[in-house]
């Protein structure tokens, strides 16, 4: 590197920056961040989470504005990659105005990122992370308003067992933390329900599933359960049907995107899926949300959008309670207030967090794909829905209180 040139360059930069900086703002600013994949194959869901948080801040920050605070929104793209998520986390904890994070979509990203939040007492509310390790680590700042994979897998298995003519299942997963995790719970629960598990296989294939399909056809299961994300599972069922598979098809909430209908086409019709985040249409209270969201962003909300909206609402309410209590507005105070949330009335349910940050009662829904038209996705039929307590809540119930 040539010295004279580089030093000249440096000099110019310094001079340019010595130009007076734009002054700091006077209004007190509270920022809410979101982290979700805005690029990559899962960006449809991630973008929807981002948009819902933005909408929630717009609509729900009224009380805080009245108190003289302005609430701003900072979206981050975690690219569904742990490293990027952690790097973002390290970036955003340094903005003292950021009081909470809404996210992530992927448990594999949320787990390492939440360690950083925890170090900095920054509260995180997840609308979508179902991995059990999210809350089972007992971090005080980590909360979620959705259900858990263990319950989801078991719910799927119980439902599969209840279906007529289903005696054997073949379980596939995508070898990721999410897919393999939930598929494993499904497999165990299915065996307990008396179903024959014909196989438990993982595949990283994303385009050509012929090699995966052949052994399944030979075993001829009544139902295939695929623990994975729509971008993979939608293509899979399309090819499996073409290769002659005639049994049933089921999966976890990773199926839950209108993209599934597009990718699977007619082959995807009648597919069952469990979810911890029922479609907005499922909640009567969400009608207004759907309307507002569609008006603002030009497309209907995807799954988890309503949950992201409620997560934001919980956070804003917690901040408000801190301010009202006269305490200093610190991250610790906000984190404590979020954990102390009791009976928050969101459009997707009423939320109370247990000591691990799980909702005491989470909703699980089983749906069936009704049409290959992506526009019809939110009209998928709800076959069953029930609320299950979190492990802590269940244990508390089981031990008689003295």
């Amino acid at each position: 590197m040539q010295f004279k040139r580089s030093v000249f360059f440096l000099f110019v930069v310094v001079l340019a920056l010595s130009v007076p900086l734009v002054g700091a703002q006077d209004a007190q600013v509270i920022k809410i961040a979101s982290q979700s994949p805005l690029s990559g194959p899962q960006s449809v869901l991630g973008t929807s989470i981002r948009n819902a948080v933005e909408l929630a801040i717009e609509q729900l920050s009224g009380p805080l504005t009245e108190m003289g605070y302005s609430v701003e929104f900072v979206p981050f793209d975690d690219q569904a990659t742990p490293d990027v998520g952690v790097a973002n986390a390290n970036l955003l904890v340094n903005d003292a105005a950021i009081m909470a994070v809404i996210g992530h979509l992927n448990s594999g990203v949320a787990i390492p990122s939440s360690e950083v939040y925890n170090d900095n007492n920054l509260v995180m509310v997840s609308p979508a992370n179902t991995n059990i390790a999210i809350t089972d680590r007992g971090l005080p700042v980590v909360n979620r308003i959705c259900g858990r994979d263990d319950t989801q897998g078991a719910a799927g298995a119980a439902f599969a067992a209840s279906l007529e003519g289903v005696e054997s299942v073949y379980v596939l997963h995508d070898t990721t933390a999410y897919g393999q995790g939930v598929a494993d719970f499904f497999q165990k629960a299915a065996a307990e329900e008396g179903l024959t598990v014909l196989g438990f296989e993982g595949t990283t294939e994303t385009a050509n599933f012929e090699g995966v399909i052949q052994p399944i056809l030979a075993l001829d299961p009544d139902l295939i359960y695929f623990g994975g994300i729509y971008s993979q599972t939608g293509i899979f069922i399309n090819q499996a049907r073409a290769a002659g598979y005639e049994g049933l098809y089921m999966g976890p909430d990773g199926f839950d995107s209108s993209e599934f209908a597009e990718l699977a086409g007619d082959a995807g019709v009648n597919t069952y899926y469990t979810t911890v985040a029922a479609p907005p249409t499922f909640y009567p209270a969400a009608a207004q949300f759907i309307e507002d969201y569609t008006a603002k962003f030009g497309e209907p909300p995807q799954p988890f959008a309503a949950q992201a909206y409620d997560s934001t609402g919980i956070v804003l309410a917690a901040i408000q309670s801190v301010l009202e209590s006269g305490e200093e507005l610190t991250r610790e105070a906000v984190a404590a207030a979020v954990r102390a949330t009791e009976n928050y009335e969101g459009m997707t349910g009423t939320y109370t967090f247990d000591d691990n940050g799980d909702p005491e009662l989470a909703t699980y829904v089983i749906l069936q794909v009704g049409s290959s038209d992506p526009a019809e996705w939110s009209n998928n039929a709800v076959l069953a829905d029930f609320q299950a307590p979190s492990p802590l809540a269940a244990a508390a119930e089981a031990t008689p209180s003295s």
């Binding site: 024959t196 014909l198 438990f200 385009a207 030979a218």
Partner: protein, 387 residues
Amino acid sequence: MLDAGRSSLGSVSARSVLGWVYRFILFPIGQMLVFIVGAALVLTLLSYLLALLFPEPRPNISLMTQVNRQLPGMIVSGITIGFVYAMIALGYTLVYGVLKFINFAHSEIFMFGSVVGFEVMQRLAEGGNLPGWSPVLLVAFVVLAAMLASGLLAVLIERVAYRPLRGAPRLVPLISAIGVSFFMIDVVRAFQAITRNDFNLTYPLNNLEWIRNPVKLAIGEATVNIRPTQFIVVLGAVVTLIALNYFVNGTKLGRGIRAVSQDMATAGLMGINVNRMISLTFFVGGAFGGAAGALFGMNVGTVTPFVGFIPGIKAFTAAVLGGIGNITGALLGGLTLGLIESFLNGLLVYFPVLGQRYTDVFAFSVLILILIFRPSGLLGERVDEKV
């Protein structure tokens, strides 16, 4: 097979026409058939042997029954994907033959072909007259469009990213190629994200009646669904491969390419326009990648900008397996790899501890073993370095 037609086309007597047909059509097809049957037989025997040695009981059927049931399907899918690999591998091998470097970006040329194939079909579908096309015409049109687009792209890439580097140390163009590969992925993604707001590109095959009706074939306990798209892949591959064989071995331009790959400097001295020959090689290799992309897309239904990577690596493996630089080798390598992979998927389910998630590990192990024990590949000649 592809070295069969050494002699140029002379006088057009009946006998020479017959000889031509034999040399450029019957002989190659025969060779492919012999090879496929042989490979399939070997792998079949291996499956049964493993089934006998490790009689892991299945929950509902015996392992033998499972093998009986899945074998035909495995062979069909192995051949299908094998031909795709072979077509991509040709691009690697042609370029390697001429420039002695790995065109890492070839996987993206394949991807581009599959995306162009989608675009063409989607435009036709949006025009509303897709079902009106005759199947043969439609497939030919889509494949030719993809070939043209990918071929031109390959030429462009060579012109911009490789030609200025010719003669530089070997690592330099290889790294440039890696750069091109990354660049292409994101350019296609950006384009699709802006125009369609989505980059999972699903071929509009659902409203084509003829493409949705598989041929059901009952073999013993097994029923195989052979999908029309699988026919298309195999047929398209065979037709284009024969065309390539004729082009390389039976035409003047092909001779030029062979001359350049033998010795670039001498070919230049002999009055061959080396740059034009290299562009031509890229065009032909790219066109094959594009054809493979479109056929692959039609077969699997959905493609993305990321679809090139895995088949690209596999096809490269195939090219090495067959002996890189050797055209017949690419074909055989592709078929071998396709069959091996398909059988591995079937065989690994015998072993619950391993399972299909280890398929790629085994596929790579095959590559490594072959490279260690026969570095020149199946058909490559061992070239001792001149000292």
